[in-house]
């Protein structure tokens, strides 16, 4: 016999009196650790139990890196045109509008300047949630202008990559953005302005084959997928399974293409120390 007997049948609470647990209040890491979003936010979106770096976007990186989350965004309204009139299973122009609505972003990168640890910095940060962080003309132009700003004002630049590569829907135009951004980076050489490239999970394709690998300092978050060809393509090409840890930050560091791997919780400090060392005596 039950201790309590239900007097009325069915659920009696009316819909308006129900309590909602908001979505995204808790986060579960791939290792199964569960953490409250508030805790996660305080911890630079790194799970304290397993050091898992949650994939975040420009909003969060700006918050982490700019002092008091104060910054001036550049070209915030720039948006993709559809010069090729591209259509696959969906029209590219519709895809852009839908993604803008869904993400609240205009395209796959945001650029801003502000202070970090009291020193001026320009940051360009890609957003993977916008068509896989793919690089089309808007990404190319915004990063180019961010580099121009850095050049004109003698301010170091940090580019945070998180991208599947060039945006297929802009075909030839997106390919040329690799060249465009690379050409801009030659300007920084001339004035000896530091460029830090932070590679985050994932950084592949045309982004790896251009600005992401061209930093004076190439640094990465732990465990990030970094490569030119995607793992699936390589597996299909060679017809073999890929070794464990292949194309992860630690692998890329071992092969000599990264300066160091940085825990996101130390990112701001480490960048400011690095820049201080460079500017020491200047």
């Amino acid at each position: 016999m039950a201790w309590f007997n239900r007097k009325d049948k069915g659920i009696q609470t009316s819909t308006k009196d129900k309590k909602d647990a908001p979505d995204g209040l808790w986060y579960k890491t791939p290792n199964g650790h569960i953490i409250h979003m508030r805790e996660l936010k305080k911890n630079s979106y790194v799970c304290p139990e397993d050091d898992y770096h949650v994939k975040i976007g420009s909003k969060e990186y700006f918050e982490i890196l700019f002092d008091n989350n104060k910054f001036e965004e550049m070209d915030a309204l720039m948006s993709s045109a559809d010069p090729l009139n591209f259509k696959d299973t969906k029209k590219y122009s519709d895809r852009i509008v839908d993604t803008q609505k869904k993400t609240g972003l205009k395209d796959a990168v945001r650029t801003a300047h502000g202070m970090s640890k009291g020193k001026p910095i320009v940051i360009a940060c890609m957003d993977f949630s916008f068509i896989g962080g793919s690089m089309g003309a808007v990404v190319g132009e915004k990063i180019s202008r961010a580099i121009d700003y850095s050049y004109q004002n003698n301010i170091p630049i940090l580019i945070i990559s998180k991208s599947g590569g060039a945006r297929m829907m802009e075909a030839g135009i997106s390919l040329m953005q690799l060249a465009k951004i690379s050409s801009k980076l030659t300007l920084l050489e001339e004035k000896k302005i530091p460029y830090i490239s932070l590679l985050t999970d994932p950084t592949t394709g045309g982004v790896t084959a251009s600005f992401a690998m061209l930093g004076d300092f190439n640094i990465a978050e732990p465990g990030a997928l970094i490569g030119f060809a995607g793992p699936r393509i390589i597996r299909e090409t060679i017809g073999k399974d890929l070794p464990k840890g292949f194309q992860r930050s630690e692998f890329v560091l071992d092969h000599g293409f990264l300066d160091f791997i940085v825990d996101r919780r130390q990112l701001k400090n480490k960048i400011s120390t690095l820049l201080a060392l460079i500017f020491n005596g200047a």
Binding site: G172, M176, S183, L242
Partner: protein
């Protein structure tokens, strides 16, 4: 090998041969019929090749008889000394390069090389370079700069090789470095897509003062087949993919992503290597002449402005 749209032409051509044979062997006067047939062939060729679809051009760009980099080098230059190796890991046979003489002038000529038969294809890795290939190319370009010789690159690749070792040795970094360094080269640089220009693997040797495409070459961020696989999740939409990618020389010129188109013989470059080479050489020499009139500072500034203005946004 014949492509589908080449077959009707080839049938008429063999008919013509038969008729010519007949004329020799018998006394029947077939000269009128031969003349008629010849005219038919030309008009059929004209019709076919004036209205090629994008996919048909892509098929031509991959034609097994299409001239490859070394074919052109041997046709257009009188001396060629091939230089090997990246001075680091090895010699990538998917990329060839060296000093050559063209109309009495020394140039550095570099290109991706495909193989003609199974053995060669293996040696050349189907024209898919590893990082060493890009690093060799850059080494040779720096050498050209040191000795003040113009650079010509010929692009013909289905892509940079996607392999384990390629990743270990930094395929992305190798291409990226070329992109940046090519903007600083003080000598004239002319790049010609002679066949396939697939993505970063092509761009890695394609930053030039003048970027040209042969009439039936293609150049884009991805091949139509791979685009079809990703966006439609099936290989079957490659023709549609070719149409939306707009990768032909005409498309790329219209989009202002290249500087010019080099004509091919009627029927495609593979039908006449000598004539194709003449067209290529003419384009190279005339562009070289224009470029040499500028100072290196002007050329570099123009090169940067050109790529800097690529992209449409609102």
């Amino acid at each position: 090998m014949l492509l589908d749209f080449e077959k009707p032409i080839s049938e008429l051509e063999s008919k013509l041969n038969d008729m010519k044979q007949l004329a020799v062997e018998s006394d029947v006067d077939v000269s009128l019929a031969i003349k008629k047939l010849e005219e038919n062939i030309i008009s059929l060729k004209n019709d076919t090749f004036k209205n090629l679809t994008r996919w048909q051009r892509i098929q031509l760009s991959r034609h097994p008889d299409r001239p490859y980099t070394l074919d052109y080098i041997y046709e257009i230059t009188s001396e060629f000394i091939e230089l090997h190796g990246d001075r680091n890991v090895g010699d990538d046979r998917a990329v060839v390069g060296g000093f050559a003489e063209i109309d009495g002038e020394t140039i550095m000529i570099i290109g991706q090389q495909k193989g003609r038969n199974t053995k060669q294809r293996q040696e050349r890795n189907f024209g898919m370079a590893n990082p060493e290939g890009y690093r060799k190319a850059l080494r040779l370009m720096k050498l050209a700069e040191k000795f003040n010789k113009p650079i010509v690159t010929l692009i013909d690749t289905p892509g940079a090789f996607p392999g384990i070792e390629a990743e270990e040795r930094g395929q992305g970094e190798a291409i990226a470095k070329n992109l940046k360094e090519m903007f600083t080269l003080k000598v004239p640089v002319i790049c010609v897509v002679i066949g396939e220009g697939a993505s970063g693997g092509a761009l890695g040797i394609a930053i030039g003062d003048k970027v040209l495409m042969m009439e039936n070459a293609w150049y884009s961020v991805i091949s139509p087949e791979n685009c079809s696989t990703i966006l439609w999740r099936s290989w079957d939409y490659k023709e549609q993919a070719a149409d939306v990618l707009k990768p032909t020389a005409k498309d790329m010129l219209k989009l202002k992503l290249i500087d010019g188109i080099i004509k091919e013989p009627l029927g495609g470059a593979h039908t006449n290597l000598q004539e194709s080479a003449v067209f290529l050489k003419k384009a190279l020499m005339s562009n070289l002449e224009t470029l040499k009139k500028k100072s290196s500072e002007e050329r570099i500034a123009d090169r940067m402005d050109k790529f800097g203005s690529m992209g449409v946004y609102s």
